[in-house]
Symmetry: C2
Subunit: 348 residues, 2 copies
DNA sequence: GTTAGCACTCTCAGTGATAGAGTGCTAACA
DNA sequence: TGTTAGCACTCTATCACTGAGAGTGCTAAC
């Protein structure tokens, strides 16, 4: 018993129908709606085979069939055809990026909102991991005698600020000198390269000044670490309630809860499914998900770039019955487009 | 027909029971569970009167009664008794504030999360309106020849940064001078006071420099306006699904949708209900809400202070059947506590 | 290998029938 | 005059039952 051409066609038809209707698909439906040139009885036999091979499931005796995770896997790898998508909506990304170029968080939030609006699925975006980004500028601004703000500007104009406290009073001229010195020593280094030993080294070289500024330098070391903390932005959780598979309030609540937990979101975005599609897009289906709350869901993920380097991940989440083809199309177009605009802005 | 002592007691009992069970309350339930010393028949007569007066409603003939908006209004104003609340959970606020003192947004998000966790209701917090806050420090940091970052520090150490662009190349020494000048002129003024005419005036006084820095000064004027943009943080929308009154997926979706719209959230927080309780807490019940999506909900709001001035609003949202007493207690304790901690931190 | 036909299975929607909760009214009582 | 017991009435929710419909698997014929 093998997967001949016709069985594949039948599987494809069943999946297409199920994606639309969310109802188990029967042999007669296939023979009527999809012109396969064979009778429903033949389709029935093939469906029985496909079930035995694990590509289909039957919710109860004498119901139609629904695709299994394995069925979807075959579908996304061999069968699905990418539809044309409406680029007009996607082009709004340009506006978002231009408008929010100096507010990375807000930009990512808006992109994830747009994406969930276009796809009607919940969308996740992780903030740029910038430990491989170079330091562009550092500046200390005095607040009062004992506290100051450390401004950190990274390549790609990612700006962070931290409030630092010192146990000793510090003159503003000292801060200016320290700023200059920090820039001389650290500019052009990546966050990975700016570590504790380097800061300790700096302290020693400064001699008496280093001791006076002990607190400040420690605080700076701390701040640099926290610059790289990862955030995840999620939008469109509400769409969960649109899927018939989550009309059970208990199920919906479970998933909602998961989507409010940052750790789970990070797990979802960072897991690697066995195979990766050529266009840099990964699909994780149902039980393949690590997070237990996601076992009935699928995720389509891809990475986005800044300065030529992959810095973050975008994921679109849905029931296993999600419209993979359209989501993959939308996502890959979006990322190409984003890459294009961001490159113009950041490096130019 | 007036509201004598017994009628009030019966209303109180009905509301208490309904808050617990979410089921229409019958006369026998009241006479059995609450010891009013009269028979169910008497209660029945009084309930009929209370319905005629508009404090109760009957979902259908020969069902029990449920409170009307007017009934709840009477309850929150005269009848409810504040319970003791668990201060231990509230004390986590201190940790949040200490940890996030230099990241206002993150702090407010965490507080709203905590509050929704404690109360099991969705929670809103508006970001500080800082147009009445004084400017503490301004600094321009060069990024490259044509662009720079404007750092704005307000009283209470609220920090904002904006990326500005100029059409002409600008030397970094010029920026330092400009920073000094801006500080001399603007420090200590509130955002309200720093308006376009003032900036124009500045340009003129600077003569040839003013023309060169035309772009920059315009950009600064723009930025100052946008510093005051209001944000609202919302947490715990998921709790909606816990309320039996939103077990209807369509209703739940409607409310969810509303909670994702910033404009609606601002409306919810800024509306004024007719009466304000003495402890600075406002309650808006059902139809009293302006936003149409909220007509089946109630909101308990209060304001929080920074530097002795009211700068933002916190709101807790629930079905009209919400546990007003506990929510009011929790909220008023939280705000007192926050005020205490924030005062120590910001002004000290 | 394919197909028509048929018996069988299971769900779903509709239909009474029934129990139960609650009311309103009346008449009796303190 | 206010309170109460009793009773008829109303409305809902639940359960069992039924028939229609969708779909399957098997068999026998092509």
């Amino acid at each position: 018993m093998d997967l001949d051409e016709r069985k594949l066609k039948i599987l494809h038809a069943i999946i297409c129908d199920y994606l639309e209707t969310a109802e188990p698909v029967g042999s007669r439906t296939i023979s009527k709606k999809y012109n396969l040139g064979v009778s429903s009885a033949t389709i029935r036999n093939d469906m029985s085979d496909l079930e035995e091979l694990g590509f289909l499931m039957q919710p109860y005796t004498s119901a139609g069939r629904i695709p299994s995770d394995k069925g979807y896997r075959l579908y996304v790898e061999q069968l699905m055809e990418y539809p044309m998508i409406d680029m007009q909506q996607l082009e709004l990304v340009q506006e978002i990026i231009v408008e929010k170029i100096d507010k990375m968080e807000s930009m990512l939030q808006d992109i994830s909102k747009l994406l969930s609006m276009i796809t009607n699925y919940p969308t996740l975006i992780s903030s740029p991991q910038i430990h491989k980004t170079k330091l562009k500028h550092m500046q200390l601004i005095p607040l009062d005698e004992y506290s100051m703000i450390l401004i950190t500007v990274m390549d790609g104009n990612i700006v962070r600020n931290h409030i630092l406290n010192s146990t000793m009073p510090i003159k503003s001229e000292t801060l200016i000198k320290l700023s200059t010195m920090l820039n001389q020593r650290l500019q052009g280094l990546t966050l990975e390269e700016i570590n504790l030993p380097l800061i300790q080294n700096l302290k020693q070289q400064m001699g008496i000044h280093g001791i006076l500024l002990n607190d400040v330098l420690d605080a700076i070391a701390n701040s640099i670490e926290s610059v790289d903390e990862q955030d995840v932005y999620m939008s469109g959780a509400i769409h969960i309630l649109d899927f018939p598979e989550f009309h059970d309030v208990f199920k919906a609540k479970n998933l909602f809860h998961a989507l409010e937990e940052k750790d789970i979101l990070i797990t979802i975005l960072s897991q690697n499914s066995s195979k990766q599609k050529d266009n840099n897009i990964q699909i994780t289906i149902g039980q393949e998900n690590i997070a237990k709350e996601m076992k009935d869901c699928s995720v389509v993920t891809t990475s986005y770039k800044m300065g030529g380097q992959k810095v973050g991940t975008i994921g679109i989440l849905g029931p296993t019955r999600m419209d993979y083809a359209r989501v993959v199309s939308t996502l890959s177009h979006l990322v190409k487009y984003m890459d294009h605009i961001l490159r113009n802005f950041m490096d130019g």
